[in-house]
């Protein structure tokens, strides 16, 4: 991980963050701190604003108001230095389907200004267990392999902070377990991780802090040691059911 010019203890500091799309408040007054090396799982029903929160923190979209500091850098300033410190895994793989994993990673390595992009690419491919498929086109990969390759792309430049947006979506049990192992290794390597997920057991198992986002707000934010998992699960499913009512969907 690269040295940070700001030796603050917090990896992520968010204060009264808001993002509005017309009348819709996607993120509504969210505030929290995440220390270096901590793992935050953010749960919430569809449309709660989880993806928008990650997009703001990754500098992909500007907040309407409030402040967010990531790795000591003000997100709204859109600094390149901040982008060096973060890796993002989202719904889409951000990989070129007609290129091979090696070609994709060498390309991103060059974009990150790595000294030895080829060696770095091979190293992360070995980390995620895809070295044997390094010369196959990405188009031929399964969803699970794509997700592992996305991890390789996200950690290629050795970022200190990772944002994961529903990384388990569409994976079978085996692929989920493999991905979980990779995330656990990344967490053990002292990377700060913010993950949004619908997988309650998996999210609670891996994290240090838990948040529940509902209609843009953080309705719940606690240390995992202070969380009663059964109560939290009930609260989460209530939030999802209420959200279905709001969206006009009848629950079973």
């Amino acid at each position: 991980m690269s040295d940070n010019p700001n030796p603050s203890d917090s990896a992520i500091e968010v204060r009264q963050l808001r993002k509005e799309f017309g009348v819709l408040k996607a993120v509504d007054g969210v505030s929290f701190d995440l220390k270096r090396g901590e793992f935050l799982s953010v749960f919430g029903p569809n449309g709660a604003g989880k993806t928008t929160l990650i997009k703001i923190l990754a500098g992909l979209t500007r907040p309407s108001s409030g402040t967010a500091r990531v790795a000591g850098y003000e997100v709204a300033e859109g600094r390149s230095e901040m982008r060096r410190e973060i890796g993002v895994i989202s719904h889409s793989s951000a990989l070129y389907a007609d290129l091979t994993p090696m070609e994709n990673l060498i390309f991103f390595g060059k974009m990150y200004g790595l000294d030895h992009p080829k060696e770095s690419a091979l190293e992360v491919l070995e980390d995620v267990g895809l070295a044997a498929r390094r010369h196959d086109r990405v188009r031929t990969f399964s969803r699970g392999m794509l997700q592992r390759l996305s991890i390789a792309r996200a950690i290629l430049h050795d970022p200190s902070i990772l944002f994961l947006d529903e990384p388990f979506t569409g994976l079978d049990i085996h692929a989920s377990n493999v991905l979980k192992e990779h995330l656990q290794t990344l967490h053990n390597n002292k990377r700060t991780i913010l993950m949004t997920t619908h997988d309650v057991s998996c999210g609670l198992e891996m994290c240090d802090k838990v948040a529940l986002q509902v209609m843009g707000k953080f309705a719940f934010f606690e240390d995992i040691k202070d969380v009663d998992k059964e109560n939290f699960e009930t609260m989460y499913f209530d939030a999802v059911r209420n959200n279905q009512f709001t969206m006009g969907i009848r629950p079973h």
């Binding site: 992909l60 979209t61 060096r84 973060i86 793989s93 007609d98 991103f108 974009m111 990150y112 200004g113």
Partner: protein, 226 residues
């Protein structure tokens, strides 16, 4: 500065490797340009009108229409699988992304034009070889302006559902000064006039090239941001 240049080179390398594997862009542009020229060959009676008079317009219609196909693919390719998001996450100046895409588009379109020129020469029975140097200069200026503006507008249109329709509607009206300039210059070259006779047109086309690139540098950051 070194990182900026290596990022531009990386984008061009990635686009060239992709094109070498898929051959989607070149084959589509080449076949379309060839069809445009063939349609005009059969619809224009070359025993009544001079080929050197109608030829420049037909040549540039073929270049620009087929080039629009390529531009449409340019940023759509980046949108597939969220690749543009991946590019936005790297510590790169947005103008590096713009210049990388501009150079890729320019290279692909120029190669297609170089393949079309001999066919145009055969179909219209015009000897381009004696005017090759000035003609290549005009093609360079026209293609640069087209790609400079087209790359910017394709990045804008790639966010729209009706991107295939919107790109030409946005592009051609703003491109009018360059289209007029290059068609007039090509006509003068085929009529055997020296380059010194068309300095005003060269100046105008080069000025618009610079303006389009300047405007793109100033606006690409806002256009690429969601």
């Amino acid at each position: 500065m070194n990182l900026f240049l290596s990022q531009i080179t990386a984008i061009v390398w990635k686009d060239v490797v992709t094109e070498l594997k898929t051959r989607e862009l070149f084959s589509a542009m080449f076949i379309f340009a060839l069809l445009v020229i063939l349609i005009f060959i059969f619809s224009v009676n070359l025993s009544i009108v001079k080929a050197s008079e109608v030829g420049p317009g037909i040549l540039w219609v073929a270049f620009l229409f087929s080039g629009t196909l390529g531009l449409n693919r340019s940023f759509v390719m980046e949108k597939e699988n969220g690749c543009l998001m991946g590019l936005m996450l790297v510590p790169a100046d947005r103008t590096a992304i713009y210049f990388g895409k501009l150079i890729s588009n320019f290279v692909f379109l120029t190669i297609m034009e170089l393949f079309i020129l001999p066919l145009f020469m055969i179909f219209f029975n015009i000897d381009l070889l004696e005017h090759l140097a000035p003609l290549l200069l005009v093609i360079f200026l026209g293609t640069l302006g087209f790609c400079a503006l087209g790359t910017l507008l394709s990045s804008l249109a790639s966010n729209l559902k009706t991107r295939e329709i919107m790109l030409p509607i946005l592009l051609y009206p703003i491109l009018v000064p360059i289209i007029i300039g290059v068609v007039r210059m090509t006509g003068q070259i085929l009529a055997g006039e020296p380059l010194s006779e068309m300095m005003n047109w060269i100046g105008l086309t080069a000025s618009f090239d610079i303006i389009y690139i300047g405007v793109s540098i100033m606006t690409i950051d806002h256009i690429l941001e969601e």
